[in-house]
């Protein structure tokens, strides 16, 4: 056997290696990942427990104001709801569409729905598909409204709370919201959702699909 191999010239040896690898390939299976994803349940439980799975409305507001564009904000609600109001920079992708949608693996994906349930389900879907950079907006759009668009302050605020509220008021105005000071005359003010154009300086930067250059020749 050994002498047989040593008798072969370099071309024959290479051909033999290629054929051998080819024959093994017949039995080695499909190189593409299939649709049945394996998930590490322990890892996911740990992420949830450590609260690494969500961001708060205030954090998101800060990002939008700073003009960050390293994330994709996904609105999971219906098209009609999306058109009525959505958080600036958001894209509308519904839950059923999400499983067919391919993101880049490194993309930071932030999901939100009306409350928290749909986004949690979507989050699980994405994590199962291997997207490790998926996050939920904590409390969904409801919390966005409560904390950012129509923030309130308690009846007897501590100095810290007052300071925080002053800051939030600015943020709220930026997004076209109306802060509720908590005094009685203000409570009755109707909470009207801001028009979608607000704030102007953000929309052109992100939100629209970035046109990608093609990768072929």
């Amino acid at each position: 056997m050994k002498s047989f191999i040593s008798k072969l010239n370099i071309k024959q040896k290479l051909a033999a290696v290629a054929l051998l690898l080819g024959i093994i390939a017949i039995f080695a299976g499909n190189p593409y990942k299939d649709a049945y994803a394996k998930i590490d349940t322990k890892e996911i439980a740990l992420i949830i427990q450590k609260e690494l799975d969500h961001i708060t409305a205030e954090e998101l507001a800060d990002w939008i104001i700073q003009g960050k564009s390293d994330y994709r904000l996904i609105d999971l609600r219906s098209e009609k709801e999306f058109e009525e109001y959505h958080i600036p920079t958001a894209e509308n992708i519904q839950l059923t569409m999400l499983s067919d949608y391919t993101f880049l693996p490194a993309e930071k994906i932030i999901l939100y729905s009306e409350g928290g349930i749909h986004s949690a389900q979507a989050w699980f879907l994405l994590v199962a598909k291997g997207y490790r950079n998926a996050y939920m907006l904590k409390g969904g759009l409801e919390e966005w409204k409560d904390k950012i668009l129509f923030p309130t302050i308690s009846q007897n605020p501590s100095p810290d709370e007052v300071k925080h509220f002053e800051k939030i008021k600015e943020v709220s105005k930026y997004f076209g919201g109306s802060p509720q000071t908590g005094k009685e005359e203000n409570v009755t003010i109707k909470q009207t959702l801001p028009k979608l154009e607000m704030p102007k300086q953000v929309t052109p930067q992100v939100g629209t699909q970035k046109k990608k250059k093609k990768e072929g020749c």
Binding site: K11, L21, G22, G29
Partner: protein
């Protein structure tokens, strides 16, 4: 290992250009090593005198295909993230025929002509100017041929999907075809020398 590294965000756009340059050096180096900086050697393929074009091309295809296949099977690369040019069958068939005729008239293809320019071939430089002119002509007539360009759209499609044959079996058949082709090429070369 999370490959392709770039798509997993291991580095950004700017560094990818450095990678591009380095990979290009490797590409150019081996093209020149193979003798593809010479139009005479390249076109000798089409007169059955020197079958190097076939040998080098198919060895490269087999090497990369086997490597990619085994990396994919072992889970070291996510193949669905490797860019696959969509198939538009009829324009690609016509494009291939035009390109083949251009190959035997001009003596190079775009990649090999770059290597030939580097090694001092004047005809390769003229060829490259021709390539630029051809692309410009294509760009100018593009609005007229746009419908044809987008015809027979088959999407991103691989041979295993088309033929409904397991991927590994196709890999084996390609290896078998290549090795058979190499044996034939060696035989033809020997015969032509006589």
């Amino acid at each position: 290992m999370n490959a392709p590294f770039f798509k997993y965000g291991l580095f950004g756009d700017d560094f990818s250009l450095v990678v591009a340059f380095l990979i290009g050096i490797g590409f150019g180096f081996f093209l020149e090593r193979a003798g593809f900086g010479s139009a005479k050697k390249l076109t000798a393929q089409f007169y059955f005198i020197d079958m190097s074009v076939f040998k080098v091309m198919f060895t490269a295809i087999v090497t990369a295909m086997l490597g990619l296949y085994y990396l994919g099977v072992l889970g070291l690369i996510n193949l669905s993230l490797v860019y696959l040019t969509p198939t538009y069958l009829i324009p690609q068939i016509l494009g291939g025929l035009i390109l083949g005729i251009g190959f035997v008239i001009g003596g190079y293809c775009p990649g090999t002509s770059c290597v030939a320019v580097s090694t001092g071939k004047i005809d390769a430089l003229v060829f490259l100017i021709g390539v630029v002119a051809g692309i410009f002509a294509f760009g100018e007539v593009f609005p007229l041929i746009k419908n044809f360009y987008y015809s027979s759209d088959m999407g991103q499609l691989t041979l295993p999907q088309l033929l409904n044959i397991p991927y590994g079996l196709i890999v084996f058949l390609v290896v078998l075809m290549a090795v058979g082709g190499f044996i034939g090429a060696e035989f033809v070369e020997k015969k032509m020398k006589k």
